[in-house]
Symmetry: C2
Subunit: 317 residues, 2 copies
DNA sequence: ATAATAGTGACAACTATTGTCATGGTTATT
DNA sequence: AATAACCATGACAATAGTTGTCACTATTAT
């Protein structure tokens, strides 16, 4: 085998075995140990992060870093990857221990000049914004690890009611609108709850046995907005909207699917909502003022009236 | 230079010039043309997508695809890149013409086995969610292109008041909370406005001369929430917050920096706000109900009272 | 101590790489 | 139709690089 090809192959082999000895490689490639040593040095010079230890149980290792063999990306693909990774800079916490900037640097460095120029021009003209929060979420990596390995954790959580310990078996973590959430089976409630990660004040391994039935659950099969299994009774919602009201509701994630627009631009909103949403909806529709007229359910109308009377008291009629 | 190194270098050179002739390369590397031909064939066999055309003005070309030479990513970096790119699947519209999935496929394919395994496990347990909107934004690529090249466009925009044509010079586009926005100098207003890209119904090149002073503006130097140059007079805000109020305000992007927390969990909010924000703030603080007591400015209190009286009329006291 | 491992240097044998030359083919330009 | 600018391939001797072997050193776990 010609040397140049051998080097490429060796790159791959070395990547897969993380640990190996010179003798092993020599046998595998059918060359002398001396040559293997020479080759490994060349790989080193080419940037493969090898290091070696002498003595029994010694050998070569590839450091935590790995090599990706030459990958052919189209220009558009490279750009997409660049900007996606660039967007990570908006996150104060990530579940990976990484300065994503170092990865970007490498990526960027190896791009053909003209692609790099194009990226430079675009860099200050496209952005994927995520609301930046000041509160960090230090336990993301631990929670994710527990989800992957299906371990039970004991977390110190600050909910509305105050701080408390709970045993949870994490299903997964996700970020949305600048916050990180952890969806987890909670033993004390015997159901799945969502926790905001920045309100988790401590995480410890727990001796509790993990529930095997939770293992097969994951984020893809879950609706990230509601806890499954908590099938709440739904009640009917009916709201009249002005033209402005229509626009505002279409801009809201949860409400957009329910909005019906009439020809004149005004419209209505109809759909089924869980009863537990009433407090939120009351606030929401009060915020819309004249642009929304809630008609049903009566409970929502009552709630709005009640809130109004409190407010009137507070601010003086 | 040893052949193996020459091949690596040639990979890079060939990547940068998209078009080249055998003679050029021969001179550049100080080798014979015959050797260049042999090398190019090897590169071909190694996967570099070369093709050649004979005759005058012929020569070699690298197809649209490019090669990235071996890049050393740490495991964590590779994972971060993977998930960042994976997150793009939540977007219905992107300014790049790409199936980011193809790039991901390649990336994934070339990873060492155990990293791939780790990603597999994590894939369904981490996510970067972006609200998925039904409305697409078909002109993103055009708008971005105009921003990069500083061209003037004539857009057909649907604002509150209805549809109208306007001449704009885009500064950049960004996505936030599921929508794409385009920040652009608008000739008819002689100021910078932000447009929601899904409300842009048509985009045409305009013969208007671009303003050179806009060229130097970009998204990084802009506050994405406000138009620059519009230095509005600020007025003082003072609000008392209950414990719940503190939590709610800390969860809100704009208000979080102003919140002061006291020992008992309750707190206050103080800061300067532009007068134009009063309508928004009125809605916001009404939504907080008893958990917020606005004290200053008086204009805000008045506005709240006014809104309340309208609401009381509407829903019956 | 011993055995297992990496690391270096020297050198002859070997092999691959290279340049040159010869030849042929395609295509745009004149 | 001639020409010039390209790519393409084969043959072969000169050269340059690669390889294996051997001899030696150094480190470390057992």
């Amino acid at each position: 085998m010609p040397k140049s090809k051998r080097l490429m192959e060796m790159m791959m082999v070395v990547n897969q075995k993380r640990k190996f000895t010179v003798r092993e490689l020599a046998q595998e490639f059918g060359i002398s140990q001396r040559t293997v040593l020479r080759d490994l040095q060349e790989l080193s010079e080419l940037g493969v992060p090898l290091y070696s230890e002498v003595g029994p149980h010694g050998g070569y290792r590839v450091l935590k870093e790995r090599i990706l063999p030459p990958i052919a990306f189209t220009e558009e693909e490279a750009i997409a990857i660049f900007f996606a990774t660039h967007a990570l800079r908006h996150y104060t916490s990530l579940p990976f221990e990484t300065e994503s900037s170092s990865a970007l640097g490498k990526f960027y460095y190896y791009m053909p000049e003209d692609v790099r120029a194009r990226i430079d021009q675009m860099k200050s003209r496209v952005d994927f914004v995520t609301p930046m929060r000041q509160t960090g979420s230090p336990y993301l990596a631990l929670l994710l690890d527990a989800a992957v390995q299906q371990k039970v954790l004991s977390i110190d959580y600050e909910s509305r009611g105050g701080r408390s310990e709970r045993e949870v078996q994490p299903i997964g973590i996700y970020t949305k609108n600048g916050f990180w959430y952890c969806s987890a089976y909670t033993f004390s409630y015997q159901s799945i709850r969502v926790y905001r990660c920045d309100r988790i004040h401590n995480v410890l391994p727990s001796p509790t046995e993990p529930l095997p039935s939770i293992r097969s659950l994951n984020l893809d099969t879950m609706d990230l907005n509601h806890s499954p299994g908590l099938e709440e009774p739904k009640i009917e919602l009916a709201v009249e909207l002005s033209k402005e009201g229509v626009e505002l509701c279409e801009a809201e994630i949860w409400s957009a699917p329910y909005v019906r627009k009439r020809e004149d631009g005004a419209g209505s909103m109809e759909g089924e909502i869980p009863r537990s949403e009433i407090p939120y909806l009351a606030k929401f529709f009060i915020g819309l003022g004249q642009d929304a007229r809630v008609q049903r359910p009566q409970e929502l109308v009552d709630r709005i009236r009640q809130m109004l009377s409190v407010l009137v008291d507070q601010y003086g009629g």
